[in-house]
């Protein structure tokens, strides 16, 4: 593995790891606060148990998210000093705001976790909600930094130096709205489905039926709403990408040839050698329609870009197909949820479908980030700086990669083990509820 590959693998792995915990850390508090609210409002003890149960989950996942986030803030420099040296001042603004939001979150989580008997109940509830609000805000801010890499603005680039820096323009870049909306919905969706799936499983196994059903309902209200809204935000994102990063869109769709009436290819395997996508289902004119709201519009293909500026087409295309397929399936499940919720009765078959949907949201989040990040390659700042020019000169990056791979895999294993222990114990304790 050469140094650049190792650095990219380290970054990809660190981000892929952190994102799961970040997503849980910023949306799980909302679920927890909802349960807490219902307890305070109705005085129902089951909701109190649920709040405490979810709180412990939040504590564990938050800790892992916080340290892996700390690692990332260093890794930006450890792996990509060339990038940070130029980009740091330009996109520092969202990072500073993210830091502030995260600070508030860390304070709020301390207050909520340890403050049960030290504050008035509603003040305590607000601290729990603040964990979610500030976590959510920090997610929105940090996405601004990433979206700037996709749609860089707020500076002039000449002779390898950035001039006339305008951090405000950089922060409010044109990719921010669609990326932030898509990401935050994805977070709610992934966590909603993951939590609902676990509780559906426990319910089906006959464990603490009332508790698990109540948990499932709360989680799915978040998950299902987000899942139903997500295709709309995805479409919005697609339109913006068509405009901002046509090469990424072309890779996503396996679209090699610039043409009008461009078809949308469902599935299929893009072949870079023959410049064609095989075995896909083609919907005539659909890509033109989706990207430019006109079935006759011209959609730029990869042929407009020099070969060395192509993203890895195969992976980007497949990751995108996976994300969309999972998203559609979760939206369907979300629709059914609201349907059955009105009838106040969930068929077992639906609950089993939720069980199998437990990891789908998280997988979709990972797939989506693969699309965003690999779809931007070979650029680290789109059309400005290449990833290869930003990498650290430090040799032996493969050791760095192996070290963090081992560390994070170990951490993931311990977290999973703790999670299972937690679920077992709490479920046994509340069997009667």
């Amino acid at each position: 593995m050469d140094d650049l590959t190792a650095a990219r693998a380290t970054m990809g792995f660190s981000l892929g790891f952190h994102i799961i915990f970040a997503v849980i850390g910023m949306t799980m508090p909302f679920l927890m606060s909802a349960a807490h609210y219902l307890h305070l409002k109705r005085g129902d003890a089951v909701y109190l148990e649920l709040t405490r149960m979810w709180m412990k989950g939040v504590a564990i996942f938050f800790a892992v998210g916080a340290v892996s986030g700390t690692v990332l803030s260093f890794e930006l420099g450890l792996l990509w000093p060339g990038f940070m040296e130029h980009a740091g001042p330009i996109i520092g603004m969202p990072f500073s705001w993210e830091g502030t939001a995260f600070f508030v979150e860390a304070v709020a989580i301390g207050l909520f976790l340890y403050g049960w008997k030290r504050m008035k109940p509603w003040v305590h509830w607000v601290t729990g909600l603040m964990v979610g609000v500030s976590g959510f805000a920090s997610g929105i801010f940090v996405v601004a930094a990433n979206s700037w890499m996709n749609a860089p603005q707020g500076f002039e680039w000449a002779d390898g130096v950035a001039r006339n820096i305008d951090p405000v323009a950089a922060m409010f870049n044109r990719a921010w709205p669609h990326q932030a909306i898509h990401m935050q919905l994805a977070a709610l969706q992934a966590v909603g489905f993951a939590v609902a799936g676990v509780h559906a499983f426990l319910y089906l196994r006959g464990r603490a039926p009332e508790l698990n059903l109540k948990a499932l309902r709360i989680a799915m209200v978040f998950g299902a709403s987000a899942a139903i809204l997500q295709p709309v935000s995805g479409h919005f994102a697609g339109e913006r990408i068509a405009e901002l990063q046509p090469a990424k869109l072309a890779a996503i769709e396996g679209h090699f040839e610039t043409r009008t009436h461009a078809p949308l290819t469902l599935g299929g395997i893009p072949d870079v050698e023959t410049r064609s996508t095989k075995w896909g289902l083609e919907l005539p004119g659909a890509l033109s329609l989706l990207a430019h709201r006109d079935p006759a519009a011209e959609v730029i293909g990869l042929d407009r870009f020099p070969r060395e500026d192509w993203p890895p087409v195969l992976i980007v295309h497949l990751a995108f197909q996976l994300m969309v397929a999972l998203g559609v399936w979760m939206a369907v499940l979300g629709g059914f949820f609201f349907w059955y919720r009105r009838k106040a009765n969930f068929p077992r078959r639906f609950l089993w479908a939720l069980v199998f949907a437990t990891p789908l949201g998280m997988i979709a989040v990972e797939a989506g980030w693969i699309v965003t990040e690999l779809g931007r390659q070979p650029w680290i700042i789109y059309d400005v700086m290449r990833t290869a020019d930003a990498v650290t000169p430090v040799p032996g990056m493969v050791y760095h990669f192996v070290l963090f791979l081992a560390l994070y895999l170990g951490l993931a294993a311990v977290t999973a083990w703790l999670f299972v222990r937690q679920v077992r114990i709490t479920q046994r304790k509340f069997e009667g509820l």
Partner: protein
């Protein structure tokens, strides 16, 4: 503008050493034998550190953000030349941060896993403190060589040596000392109080010894801390008064004045850090080609302005919420949930 940023870097560094440092120190203290008090000591540390745990460590992130936004060249240079120690520090931070939470929130509190958590927490705390000291020492050695092409000169020589190690040990002692002084006031249990007081005494002696070690080790360095130090009356005054304050500290300890004891210990750290700061600031990073100063390495004006705004507005959120946190936990009644 730059002055405000320097102030925030200095303040964050100080708060990180004081608050984060006592977290690290708590881990180091837990490595000491305790003869039957282990469990009680663990409980005290959980209760004392738990609520402030996450907040204490954000000062480090704040420093990183200020550096890469406001002083990107300094940040990039450090991340390249000190890649190895930063990596080592991160591994320690990851392990101790997670293990501390796991220990508290593990649903099954059984002796074996608890023991593993505690040992990991202690060792990784010591490890991180050592590397933090090594990094701080390496900043001002003048050994950072951005143009070096051979691996040793570029990535190992900047931090390799007796002097950085001595500073690492010194920092670990400061942290452990801070933690034991802090923990004395966190328990009502007399035997445990005595235990923490004894720990504080041990680290007090070690601090003076390793402080001497730092000066001795610096004789092997070319700009050399000691030589700079002797020529600088303010720094001398700071270190001498920090040392003399031990007398006041132990008087307050014996009178059981918790807040005053803590204030004195914090004051000592302020003096030590202040002494270091006046020796080097604003050139706290020295390379073979000369210093990378805050004033000549600052980012363009618009970036600095936005950073300062963010920091000031952020402080308006952060300090009240921190104050609220401290009010709720440190001034409230000491009953357990």
């Amino acid at each position: 503008m730059i002055d405000i940023l320097i102030f925030f870097i200095g303040a964050s560094l100080l708060l990180y050493i004081l608050l984060g440092g006592s977290d690290f120190g708590a881990g180091i203290v837990e490595l000491l034998p305790a003869r039957g008090l282990r469990r009680a000591r663990k409980e005290v540390i959980n209760r004392a550190m738990g609520p402030v745990w996450e907040a204490n460590h954000i000062w480090l992130i704040l420093i990183v953000v200020i550096l890469f936004v406001g002083f990107p060249r300094i940040f990039a240079t450090l991340m390249i030349s000190l890649h190895v120690p930063f990596l080592a520090l991160l591994v320690g931070i990851v392990i101790r941060g997670t293990v501390f939470t796991f220990r508290h929130y593990d649903a099954v509190q059984e002796p074996v896993s608890q023991k593993v958590y505690t040992w990991l927490f202690g060792l990784s705390s010591l490890w991180s403190a050592l590397w933090l000291g090594i990094i701080v020492a390496s900043l001002t050695r003048g050994t950072i060589d951005p143009k070096a092409t051979d691996v040793w000169r570029a990535y190992f020589a900047p931090w390799w040596g007796v002097y950085p190690l001595a500073v690492g040990i010194f920092v670990a002692c400061i942290f452990a000392f801070l933690a034991s002084v802090f923990l004395v006031g966190e328990t009502e249990d007399e035997t445990l109080k005595r235990r923490f007081r004894r720990d504080a005494a041990v680290f007090n002696v070690l601090l003076i010894a390793t402080g001497g070690l730092v000066f001795a080790a610096s004789l092997g360095e070319r700009p050399g801390l000691l030589r700079l130090f002797i020529a600088h009356p303010v720094a001398i005054a700071a270190v001498v008064s920090a040392t003399l304050l031990f007398v006041a500290l132990w008087r307050f300890v014996s009178r059981r004045q918790v807040m005053l004891t803590r204030a004195v210990a914090a004051g000592q750290v302020v003096l030590i850090l202040g002494g270091w700061w006046v020796l080097y600031a604003p050139n706290v990073v020295l390379t073979v080609d000369g210093p990378l100063g805050f004033y000549d390495q600052a980012a363009p004006e618009p970036a600095l302005r936005q950073l300062v705004i963010a920091l000031l507005v952020g402080s308006a959120f952060i300090f009240p919420s921190l104050a609220f946190l401290l009010c709720v936990f440190k001034l409230g009644a000491r009953e357990e949930q």
